[in-house]
């Protein structure tokens, strides 16, 4: 139940149904914290059980549009 999405609306929609989303992230901490706020979710971090940079080429950071994305960034609503 991990959904890879690249738009804020899609990410919010998936999160409202539960589970984990992966969104494009530059790796910059401030942008990462902004992504948490935008999605009203908690960061789990960067995948270690799969390639965190797979097919990330061409995506922009979800919160900082001027930055190129380098990783998929996991977020969820956490206990």
């Amino acid at each position: 139940m991990v959904a890879r999405v690249s738009s804020i609306d899609e990410a919010k929609d998936r999160l409202s149904r539960g589970g984990v989303v992966e969104v494009p992230w530059s790796g910059d901490n401030e942008c990462g914290m902004k992504i948490q706020q935008l999605l009203d979710a908690d960061a789990l971090g960067i995948p270690l059980d799969e390639d965190a940079g797979k097919d990330i080429g061409g995506f922009r950071d979800l919160a900082c549009n001027d930055k190129q994305a380098n990783y998929w960034f996991r977020l969820a609503r956490r206990y």
Binding site: M1, G18, G32, M33, G45, R74, R78
Partner: protein, 418 residues
């Protein structure tokens, strides 16, 4: 070896397991842990709860596996005091910043002026002893672990077994290494150890590197295991930290290198808790109650004699002989011979308790030299020949274990709506 699950006669097909209440996760969880006598959340201190006998039996089985995988990978069990002098907890600046708002203080101990805290985690208890124990490079790597209570003054709402002020089954491992490379090798090994533990419990997980702002206070980086609960929220179930020389420097833990220099050790720590059990309960259960994986079920097989007037003696004798045979074969078995309950009531009861396999024996079965096997995970029933009972039970329990484990292979939580 004449019997395999494929040759057993299926007499009742599997059903879709009821999972309506289960999706309303917290209510279901609180119901199931109370109703089965695993746990009691009515203790009069917020965030501190009671493990009841059935729960302790499950917990002991889980702990013994945790101990075994640590022991076989070079970790040695220790038991440290719950007290930490405040000045020790405060030595590593990031560490104290992260923990000071949730530390329990010992406000008074007789008439002295000691400033003690209850450990929130044990890095600062262990490091001063590492300093005494580690002399030179031949002492490294140095690996210890303990399973103990730790205390955190949670400000968020507490939840039974999930968000606690006294975490009572904290397995914390602490290791020291000659250099970063060896410490990071240990980090990878710890991840493998945790994979094994969660696989053993049939708990699915994601492994992620936490962002900078959410790493363990005092760590260089933190790797975390998260699982997805039935309501779609995630729960952190394990963490592994590379601590660099952050703690070694403030506690002055050095070792003598082969070339005669003194260098700081690199340390790691990693922890899991009763959340592993909470996740296991969450993952396998349904509206009928618990479903326990056979390897941690206190009762793996329950025998329900179906007694009709005049046949009680024969059926009880047969039940006892089956129990003896299965116990000798190494299974954990009980007979429910209560006379004030109907068989139907007992089926529901043992299904709620999560016993993986039920054996039903009625007069016709004794006559035909057979038994009925009822699976908790699929709700299927089979007929098995009496003379091959131990082998049939072994096959079916294996199948149940595989089924509970395989499902996690399909997707992280296949029951969540797509």
């Amino acid at each position: 070896m004449g019997v395999s699950i494929a040759t057993l006669q299926l007499i009742k097909a599997g059903e879709q397991r009821p999972r309506e209440k289960w999706r309303d996760f917290i209510d279901w969880f609180n119901w199931v842990i109370m109703e089965t006598g695993l746990y009691d959340y009515r203790y009069p201190v917020k965030g501190a709860y009671v493990w009841r006998p059935y729960g302790m039996k499950v917990r002991r089985l889980v702990e013994s596996y945790i101990r075994a995988v640590h022991d076989e990978t070079g970790h040695q069990e220790v038991l440290f005091p719950v007290f930490i002098p405040y000045e020790f907890l405060a030595k590593e600046s990031e560490h104290i910043r992260g923990f000071e708002n949730e530390v329990f203080w010992v406000s008074k101990g007789g008439v002295g002026e000691e400033r003690l805290v209850l450990r929130p985690t044990s890095e600062t208890a262990i490091m001063p002893m590492f300093k005494l124990w580690i002399k030179d490079h031949t002492d490294l790597p140095f690996r210890v672990y303990q399973i103990v209570s730790v205390f955190r003054a949670e400000t968020k709402a507490t939840r039974p077994m999930i968000r606690l002020r006294e975490i009572s089954m904290f397995k914390e491992a602490h290791t020291a290494h000659a250099n970063r490379e060896d410490a990071e090798r240990q980090v990878r090994e710890a991840v493998e150890i945790y994979r094994k533990i969660f696989d053993y419990l049939g708990v699915p997980y994601l492994i992620s590197q936490r962002p900078e702002w959410d790493k363990f206070a005092g760590a260089v980086y933190t790797i975390a295991f998260d699982t997805i609960m039935p309501d779609g929220r995630t729960m952190q179930i394990g963490t592994v930290h590379y601590l660099g020389t952050n703690f070694a420097k403030v506690f002055d833990v050095k070792y003598l290198t082969p070339s005669g220099n003194w260098e700081y050790v690199h340390t790691t720590s990693y922890g899991i808790s009763e959340r592993a059990i909470a996740a296991m309960i969450a993952m396998h259960g349904d509206d009928k109650g618990l479903v326990l994986p056979p390897n941690v079920a206190p009762i793996q097989v329950v025998i329900v004699p179906i007694m009709y007037k005049g046949t009680e003696e024969a059926i009880l004798r047969e039940s006892r002989s089956i129990k003896d045979e299965l116990v000798n074969a190494g299974f954990r078995v009980e007979i429910d011979d209560r006379t004030d309950r109907t068989p139907g009531w007992k089926y529901n009861y043992w299904e709620m308790m999560g016993v993986p396999l039920r054996i039903e024996i009625g007069p016709k079965d004794v006559e035909n030299r057979q038994v009925v096997l009822a699976r908790r995970d699929t709700l299927e029933k089979y007929v098995a020949p009496r003379n091959e009972i131990a082998e049939a039970v072994r096959q079916v329990l294996n199948e149940i274990s595989n089924n509970l484990r395989i499902r996690r292979g399909h997707s992280l939580n296949p029951w969540l709506p797509e």
